[in-house]
Amino acid sequence: MDRNALRVEAVSPMDLFIETFFNWQIVHDAWPILWQGLQATLLLSALVVPLGMIGGIIIAVLSTVHSPWVKWPLRVWVDTFRALPPLVLLIFIFAGLPFIGIDVGPWGAVAIGFFLNTGAYYGEILRAGIESVPQGQLEAARSTGLTRGQTMRYVVLPQAVRNVLPDLISNTLEVVKLTSIASVVALPELLFQARQAQSVTYNATPIMVAAVVYFILLWPVVRVLSQLENRQLAGRR
């Protein structure tokens, strides 16, 4: 037997740690599939953020209608999808619906699930934003001859968005982080690919790389957000 094989027993804990979590050889070998995963994660984010935003705008605009026939169903809808953990919703769509012949696949399931879940969150945020725009703005806009839709589009929404910008960014950050649950339905995004690479190499480095990639990607957003939130909370006094 080769002497080096016996020496494995004598490695220091630090070496073992580096060997297991920061193994350069494995970073090198696993990078191509991790890169594919990262691209899928970016594509997924580019798909679900606008989708959730559209859902949110629909909900927010509907919430300006004062009829109880709109108000209460809308509130039940929003609260239901805020109460249901996104993973539960995703699995229900992905694994439940095929039993009645509706099979939308992983991408379809993620798109529908995120539309429902993040739409409800964006909707709540935008609703608060719309409520923060003074009623006088609306009346002034209407009296200049703008229609209801135009008032919404050109006067109310731009101000509403600005007023709740930190919350919108914060929610978008959460949505991008949340795309990692797509790995549970075998959509080959970053975390899924990292798990695949780990099970092939018996080494945790690919997951560590995935974590580092997420961190590099999202840290700037967290920094900006932290500044914005501090200012916002301080401004409430």
Partner: protein
């Protein structure tokens, strides 16, 4: 079978539901315990970090900021997977429950620190100076003057964040914890019928709908008059 019958037979199958109800109830208990453990540890650690940061020790604050940023930037599922599937490669085995608890506790800790810190810095400087000039020490000022004021404005964001992170307990099912979702998933694969998932979804709604409504109430109750 008509479409409607097929629908009810799949999602509201009484026989399957009756069979898996006990498992879902057990899962419900587990989800509640996990959530309470996360809330207790996460809020406490977050508050401690914020207080520690108030002492203004530079290198320590950099470390706190880094840790907080780290756990705000990483997706909770990535942390859970790293703890549960990654650590065994280094010879450290955590149970799924502990991995999920630790991961979500760290995430809640990070958000809590951030919110408390924002609350502490939002208290006007004059409050500090007035308290110190009456002879209160630093710790007394923090405890009797600053924190009580900071706490009030932190309650709405803290409540919402806590709810959001607690919902993350469903992620524990990924690391084989038989919580609500875990029990429901197991039920589906044993019975080959998705009714346990319906039960699971109902269980989550029973658990979280009141919490979400409570969060909404807190937000209006503590809203600052502008």
């Amino acid at each position: 079978m008509t479409g409607w019958e097929r629908f009810t037979d799949s999602f509201f199958n009484a026989r399957v539901m009756a069979q898996y109800l006990p498992k879902i109830i057990e899962g419900f208990g587990l989800t509640v315990v996990l959530a309470l453990c996360i809330i207790a540890a996460g809020l406490t650690l977050g508050l401690l970090l914020a207080l520690l940061r108030a002492f203004g020790i530079r290198p320590l604050n950099w470390l706190i900021i880094f840790v907080v940023d780290l756990f705000r930037a990483l997706p909770p599922l990535v942390i859970i997977v790293l703890l549960f599937f990654g650590l065994p490669n280094a010879g450290i085995e955590l149970s799924g429950f502990v991995a999920a608890w630790l991961a979500l506790t760290l995430v809640l800790m990070a958000f809590t620190e951030e919110i408390f810190w924002a609350g502490i810095t939002s208290v006007a400087k004059g409050q500090w100076e007035a308290a110190r000039s009456t002879g209160l020490g630093f710790v007394q000022t923090l405890g009797y003057v600053v924190l009580p004021q900071a706490l009030r404005i932190t309650i709405p964001p803290l409540t919402n964040r806590t709810i959001a992170i607690t919902k993350g307990t469903a992620l524990a099912s990924v690391v084989a914890v038989p919580d609500i979702l875990g029990a429901a998933n197991a039920g589906v694969s044993f019975s080959f019928n998705p009714s346990p998932l319906t039960l699971g979804a109902i269980a989550y709604l029973v658990l979280f709908l009141p919490v979400v409504v409570f969060g909404r109430w807190i937000e209006t109750r503590f809203a600052w008059k502008r």
